[in-house]
Symmetry: C2
Subunit: 159 residues, 2 copies
């Protein structure tokens, strides 16, 4: 007989809620970054004037795509009780969640790293929005780190 499939360490519903929270944080963060353009004195600044903010946007967008896919899989699991891919998928989750959480951590940190020092020239609407976007991205990172802990604990037993 085949060994019983590994069971996730946490309820799939909890895992789903965390993924939805990740998705929402990233979506708002991406909207805030992408719409961030305002005048500081006479100069108009846009987010894509700075490499760090472009990188933030890129990590947010990748995060949204990945989280959507994972949410779809989890909804399928919650509604049917069948896990697509079995044990193999546990490793895909493990490495995918890990990689995504690192990506989001670097995105948020790059945004903060630039904003904090630009702020010393005096805060303004543009930098405040950049800070808000980085904070939301950081929140998305926290949720994705929780997903990553869950998927580590759900790894199949070693034989």
């Amino acid at each position: 007989m085949a060994p019983p499939p590994s069971t996730p360490a946490v309820s799939p519903l909890v895992s789903l809620i965390i993924r939805v929270l990740t998705f929402v944080s990233l979506l708002i963060s991406v909207i805030v970054i992408a719409t961030n353009n305002s005048y500081v004195g006479d100069t108009k600044f846009k987010f894509d004037d700075f490499y760090a903010y472009r990188y933030m946007l890129a990590t947010g967008v990748i995060g949204i795509a990945y989280t959507l896919l994972q949410t779809a899989f989890t909804i399928f699991f919650v509604s049917t009780g069948n896990r697509i891919g079995g044990d193999g998928l546990a490793f895909v989750d493990f490495y995918g969640d890990k990689a995504l959480s690192y990506l989001l951590a670097t995105g948020a940190a790059a945004g903060f790293g630039l904003t904090v020092d630009l702020n010393r020239g005096g805060s303004n609407g543009f930098l405040n929005k950049a800070n808000a976007a980085a904070s939301l991205l950081f929140l998305g990172f926290i949720f994705s780190a929780i997903s990553s802990i869950f998927s580590s604990l759900s790894l199949p037993k070693r034989s």
Copy 2:
């Protein structure tokens, strides 16, 4: 009878080598950051003029302390074959390695996030050293991420 203690997923020697590589990368990175002061035109810049570089230094120093401790434990394990703490320590390793790798990722990203955009004003010796330090910190992050994968795979079997 007590259940057999969990065995690490990778040889302790490999794990030791990765920890030593983490330590060396972080040590050089910290030295490069902390000694980074040079004239750009007539103005003298020091790393602690920028919050992002101070944060980089802080993450590097915390990383060195953590890695030293883990290296000591691993050397003890390699030389005696006894794992201090048993299964409980596997979870300490898991969460500790995860937290450290996130911390180093944010340290390197914050450094890069600032440096990349400052560089657009023209590169100079100060920024080149900052870049070198961030690259080494990033290398330290890669090694710590490998340690984190190892300690995730070494988690004790769930019953």
